[in-house]
């Protein structure tokens, strides 16, 4: 009897792949701004507490930083999933990893948004 080779469907769907690419391009722009503000413009290469709070009083900055945060977390976790796929994990391992990545992503996104909100509140108190 001739065995036909098993054919696996791609485990990173087109939409997930496309999201990783689009998020990556968004991050390049936002990370560029982040690097310039935090390491190039800032005296001695790092913003002080007062500088950070003042920076977040610029109206579009909190929204930009939240977008950056969400895109960078999602891109990192989808990328980690891609690296995991290189190891050809079993479906059960991949399912468990997916749940873990979603929990980590949601947790850090909520934490980051709370942190942005906390900094904005401190700027309002100035």
């Amino acid at each position: 009897m001739i065995e036909t080779p098993s054919v696996a469907k791609p485990r990173e769907g087109t939409w997930l792949w496309l999201f990783k690419i689009v998020a990556g391009l968004m991050i390049v722009i936002l990370l560029g701004i982040h690097f310039v503000v935090n390491h190039l413009v800032a005296p001695a290469g790092l913003l002080t507490y007062a500088d950070v709070v003042r920076y977040y009083t610029i109206p579009f900055v909190p929204v930009m930083e939240i977008l950056f945060l969400v895109f960078v977390i999602a891109h990192a976790l989808v990328g980690l999933r891609g690296i995991l796929l290189d190891l050809n994990p079993s479906d059960a391992v991949l399912r468990a990893a997916d749940i873990l990545f979603i929990l980590i992503g949601a947790g850090f996104s909520i934490y980051g948004i709370w942190l942005v909100w906390a900094i904005v509140q401190q700027g309002r108190a100035l």
Partner: protein, 128 residues
């Protein structure tokens, strides 16, 4: 697509330097910087929690962040970010069929740009 059996050997193959083309080096560079940047991202987010504790806590951390070891670490992150970001643009373009024929030249050019960018940041950070 043939389904390969699960094996950690597939992971360790990334670090095998034999018979590698320059585009494979680009792929490896992308993966290695991705792992480093992901580790840094989550550490960075946790440390930024100092901002919620007020000026004293954050500025005390900044003193530590200005030590040479941490500054060199920051430079590695900037270098990793530039390498991953610029190499990522090449991979995205290649995925859509753009620049595939000249991907080696594009990779070398972008990595040269990453090196120049890293030097600019280093001069600013260590020169001030």
């Amino acid at each position: 697509m043939m389904k390969k059996s699960p094996s950690p050997v597939n992971f360790w193959r990334w670090f095998d330097p034999r018979n590698r083309s320059i585009s494979t080096w680009g792929f490896i560079l992308n993966r290695v910087t991705a792992l480093g940047l992901t580790l840094y991202l989550f550490m960075h987010l946790i440390v930024l929690g100092k901002l919620a504790q007020g000026a004293e806590a954050y500025d005390a951390f900044l003193e530590f962040a200005h030590t040479p070891v941490v500054m060199i670490g920051e430079m590695l992150v900037i270098a990793g970010g530039l390498i991953h970001g610029l190499n990522g643009i090449r991979i995205a373009l290649n995925s859509f069929g753009v620049g595939v024929v000249r991907q080696k030249q594009i990779l070398v050019g972008l990595m040269a740009a990453a090196l120049i960018g890293t030097v600019v940041f280093a001069v600013k950070m260590f020169g001030s």
